[in-house]
């Protein structure tokens, strides 16, 4: 009983010493509500609704000159547009930040926009433009920036696509050994290492790295990456003369990719 009373007293004291949460401007509150809706729609896979809600958020944030919010929403719109397979549309959104004069948007968000632009351009194999965007992002990032590992991983991918396999392998290995690296970027680095080793005909190491990447991607439930890992495993197993194993991987890869296609709709 005494404990309960003491607990209540502590609660009352905490309440007395506090002030009510300051209310935000109504437009900003409304923008935050719609932003929440958009993120909820995105999590549930409703990309069209997410895009619609983010567009409304953007208009509200623009109306109150919330430059940080505007940049964040533009990046979100670009990401959703990219997920809807409209890469040109996504690049157009990102250009609104990267081609703007530097003082308009915060440096961190400009770096993020350049990074995402480089990712999309690398996917499209527009390597010179991707290199330029990646350089812009790297310029804005010091060693401790949040995208540090992503930038290095992307750099390794770029080197691999440009044919500099050895440098790509070395950079990806360095990234994978970082202690603070997150799971997504670690899986990406492992996949890059495996692909570089496959190119260098180091099939045994490549097989191991693809398997490591697969294990991580399974924990992250990233179907697209799982399909990629399985396809890599199938290729490498075949090179190693393990035809049966290769066939099994290939079949699994096809199943995963088919399921992914069906879930993403027509």
């Amino acid at each position: 009983m005494i404990k309960i009373i003491l607990l209540l007293l502590a609660g009352i004291l905490a309440s007395c010493g506090s002030t009510p949460a300051p209310r935000l401007p109504p437009t900003l509150e409304q923008a935050q509500e719609i932003d929440k809706e958009a993120r909820r729609a995105l999590r549930s896979g409703d990309l069209f609704r997410a895009q619609h809600e983010f567009t409304k958020t953007l208009q509200l944030r623009q109306s109150i000159d919330d430059s940080e919010g505007v940049a964040t929403t533009i990046i979100n719109l670009a990401t959703v547009t990219h997920q809807m397979h409209d890469d040109e549309g996504a690049l157009n959104w990102l250009n609104k930040i990267t081609l703007e004069i530097p003082s308009v948007y915060p440096a961190a968000l400009r770096m993020d926009a350049s990074f995402r632009k480089a990712v999309i351009l690398i996917n499209l194999e527009r390597l010179p433009e991707a290199e330029s965007s990646l350089a812009d992002a790297e310029k804005l990032c010091d060693k401790k920036c949040s995208l540090h590992f992503g930038l290095e991983g992307l750099h390794a991918r770029l080197l691999l696509l440009k044919g500099d396999t050895q440098s790509a392998l070395e950079l990806a290995l360095t990234v994978s050994k970082e202690a603070e690296i997150n799971k997504e970027e670690l899986a990406n680095a492992l996949r890059t290492i495996a692909a570089a080793e496959e190119k260098l005909a180091r099939y045994t190491e490549a097989l191991l790295h693809y398997q490591s990447a697969l294990e991580l991607d399974k924990t992250l439930s990233l179907s697209g990456r799982i399909g990629e890992d399985l396809a890599g495993l199938a290729r490498v197993a075949k090179q190693l003369g393990r035809a049966q194993e290769s066939s099994a991987y290939l079949k699994r890869a096809e199943l995963v990719n088919n399921a992914l296609r069906q879930s993403s709709g027509p």
Partner: protein, 319 residues
């Protein structure tokens, strides 16, 4: 010797006085003539100018010569020379010669459409030398109404000739068109006969078919009359029943109204209570919301409330 004694003083020097009167009158007449002559330019120095015309038509002695609308001289003489041309001399006030140049042109013009003819001298080219007395200038006749009529006549006559020829040519378009019109007219006559025939047959058909139709209509009208008589008989009964129903409805409405009036004093209270309840509910919801918002910023609820996401949605280097 004096026949009569000139005893009246007023008749003294009568001859002298009469001579003086006549002299003054003569001087007055001479001054008037002189003044008139000066005004008319009779004493102004004249310079002769000549021109040659193909005929003397429209020219006459005394005809005024004008420059820019001002009279500066007149036609003095008209003579026919050995070549049959008319040589004309005009006298121009010498003081105006300096305004004219040696290439001045003398034109015979009409003052207005049907006015008198006058000679008009043009100034000539500025760079040329001043016209000298006794010089010969070029002459031309300006186009008057007669000339215009002649020109119109010259233009219209060929057209009339062409028209005449066209109307008399059997192969011309006009003749062909008239021929076609004639044929069309004769065909229209046939068409009209056929239309007349058709109208006649329509009339016959109408007589044969419309008659029975009218008879049928008459029968229908008779039936309608019967029906109307029946309605006259039945309608009052129906209306009475309708009146009864309306009366019942009125009584029912009155009952409802009485019921509402009885309960009316209670209604505002009920509505007020309902409104109060809604207001209180709203207040409770608002308070709860405020309390939640306030508490959500403090321990222990601070950590349980999800913070608004302000960072961009995730995208990694392989997306």
């Amino acid at each position: 010797m004096t026949l009569l004694a000139d005893k009246d003083e007023r008749f003294k020097n009568l001859f002298g006085k009469a001579a003086l009167f006549v002299l003054l009158a003569a001087i007055g007449i001479a001054a008037t003539l002189l003044w008139t002559g000066i005004k008319k330019g009779a004493f102004a120095a004249k310079s002769p100018i000549y021109f040659v015309a193909d005929s003397g038509q429209g020219l006459s002695e005394g005809m005024p010569v004008k420059y820019s609308g001002f009279k500066i001289g007149k036609l003095n003489t008209l003579t026919l020379d050995e070549q049959g041309q008319v040589k004309v001399e005009v006298g121009v006030d010498s003081k105006y010669l300096k305004l004219l140049r040696e290439d001045s042109v003398m034109s015979l013009i009409k003052e207005g459409v049907i006015g008198d003819g006058v000679l008009e001298l043009s100034r000539g080219t500025e760079s040329k030398s001043v016209l000298a007395a006794g010089a010969v200038v070029r002459f031309e006749r300006a186009n008057g109404l007669e000339q215009a009529v002649i020109e119109v006549k010259n233009r219209i006559l060929p057209i009339l000739d062409d028209l005449h020829q066209t109307l008399h040519d059997p192969q011309s378009d006009v003749r062909q068109t008239l021929k076609n019109l004639r044929e069309l007219s004769s065909e229209l006559k046939g068409t009209r006969e056929r239309v007349d025939h058709l109208l006649g047959s329509v009339d016959t058909n109408l007589n044969s078919e419309v008659g029975p139709l009218l008879r049928s209509l008459r029968v229908s009208a008779s039936n309608a009359e019967t029906l109307s008589t029946k309605l006259d008989h039945d309608l009052p009964v129906l209306l009475k029943k309708a009146d009864d129903n309306l009366e019942n409805l009125r009584l029912t409405t009155q009952s409802v109204k009485d019921a509402v009036q009885k309960s009316a004093p209670q209604l505002p209270g009920m509505l007020g209570e309902a409104r109060d309840t809604i207001d209180k509910t709203r207040e409770v919801v608002e308070n709860t919301k405020e309390m939640y918002e306030s508490l959500s910023t403090h321990w222990p609820l601070k950590d349980s409330a999800p913070p608004a996401e302000t960072t961009p949605i995730k995208m990694d280097s392989h997306d």
